[in-house]
């Protein structure tokens, strides 16, 4: 038998937000510059398993990811049974900043995908100075509503399986089969109504179009990386957003879809490494300059 203990380890942190106690699960690996990773809607930290296990990253970066409340191994807050999960811009930003405070993370790089890519724009506008750099994956100011996620909460629909089916085509068909199905498994394990609750932010409340132009990348650099097979946040969507943000750096990733870090970790990391190199070098220059 061959066995390999991964370098990643997990833990729980508890903190209050708006008078509610949250029990948040997180995973981390590596050392160096904190790299705070934000998962997609309806998913969890396992999407970043490739990054946690790549020494080219973990030798220089402390990779950290947390499950939003209601997601993965993070609990919903007490009283959840009478509530519907609805992610909002304010709650999302507060949760990220609360997690950073709880773990005493100083000037991390933040990298989020999809809803995480969207909230990166919020962070770039309202909290840029708290970050060394901001990396939005599949990031754009808005997305059109071409399907109604309310059906994922219908009592006669298996929401997590239908959610997985909804997103399965967002990946590049050439991404490794095992990684694509691992990505779908995360969706199939989602809590009832959670994916749809995230999409409230993604499709409705989190529309950022009226604020994009106010982002100032001289405070903190903004990178936007988008897989070419993504039709939810298409390359054009990203490019149209970036065109309104002077200094935003766009990279369109060939052969990748909406879940780059999870559907094909190796291909994604090849795209990410030059970005991390640049961020690390800029951080070093700032320290020594």
């Amino acid at each position: 038998m061959n066995a390999m203990l991964e370098a990643v380890h997990g833990g729980y942190v508890r903190f209050d937000l708006d008078g509610r106690d949250y029990r948040i699960y997180f995973e981390e690996a590596g050392q160096g510059i904190p790299l705070l990773c934000l998962h997609t809607a309806g998913a969890d930290t396992r999407q970043f398993r490739g990054l946690f296990n790549d020494p080219r990253i973990t030798e220089r970066f402390r990779v950290i990811a947390f499950d939003l409340p209601w997601h993965g191994k993070s609990s919903p807050p007490s009283g959840w049974q009478g509530e519907a999960w609805r992610l909002t811009s304010t709650l999302y930003c507060d949760m990220i900043l609360g997690f950073m405070r709880a773990l005493a993370l100083e000037k991390p790089v933040v990298m989020g995908c999809s809803i995480g890519g969207r909230v990166c724009l919020n962070l770039a506008l309202d909290h840029a100075a708290r970050f060394l750099a901001i990396v939005g994956l599949q990031s754009a100011a808005s997305t059109p509503r071409y399907y109604d996620p309310a059906w994922l909460e219908h009592p006669e629909v298996n929401g997590p399986v239908a959610g997985a089916a909804t997103v399965m085509g967002l990946m590049c068909p050439d991404s490794p089969e095992a990684e694509r199905w691992e990505t779908l498994w995360h969706y199939m394990q989602g809590g009832p109504g959670v994916f749809a609750g995230d999409l409230y932010f993604y499709q409705v409340e989190g529309d950022f179009r009226d604020r994009v132009r106010r982002i100032d990348t001289t405070v903190t650099p903004l990178y936007m990386l988008t897989g070419e097979y993504d039709y939810s946040c298409s390359p054009q969507d990203t490019q149209e957003t970036a065109a309104q943000i002077p200094g935003a750096k766009v990279r369109i990733m060939p052969g990748l879809g909406h879940f780059p870090m999870s559907e094909n970790p190796q291909a994604f990391i090849e795209q990410l490494l030059p970005v991390l190199d640049e961020i690390e070098a800029a951080g070093r220059d700032a320290t020594h300059g």
């Binding site: 071409y146 239908a162 085509g169 070419e228 097979y229």
Partner: protein, 123 residues
């Protein structure tokens, strides 16, 4: 799309172990409007019945996917172009439109998508 051998398609889908496992218990009838052509695909207890070809007069189906022949041909290409690999991509572009019972569509979406993937595996 008249060249497509639907009987071979049916056999191919029904011999797919992943389809069989993930579609167990599925029952629905979907009308594919492929430009001017119509095809009625019935899934019964997770297996595909012989596909019926139109034209139909008021066909009995649970839901329909209607699109241009061009849209379906591009979706069914062995190697679809980026952002043409899924019916939801064509929902966004408006080139394929869902009609009928949306609840049933979502209830059987995994089965439907696995089924449609076989279009691009046909010789």
């Amino acid at each position: 799309m008249t060249e497509l051998n639907w009987e071979r398609f049916r056999q191919q889908v029904n011999s797919d172990a992943v389809f069989a496992r993930r579609s167990a218990g599925s029952n629905f009838r979907v009308l594919l409007g492929w430009g001017e052509e119509q095809y009625l695909v019935t899934v019964r207890d997770g297996r595909v019945d012989p596909v019926e070809s139109g034209p139909f007069v008021m066909p009995q189906c649970d839901f329909a996917l209607n699109g241009s022949a061009s849209a379906w041909d591009r979706f069914a290409a062995a190697r679809p172009a980026p952002r043409e690999q899924d019916i939801f991509a064509f929902f966004r572009s408006g080139e394929i439109v869902l009609g009928g019972d949306t609840r049933k569509f979502y209830a059987h979406l995994m089965c439907l998508k696995l089924l449609l993937l076989h279009l691009r595996k046909m010789p």
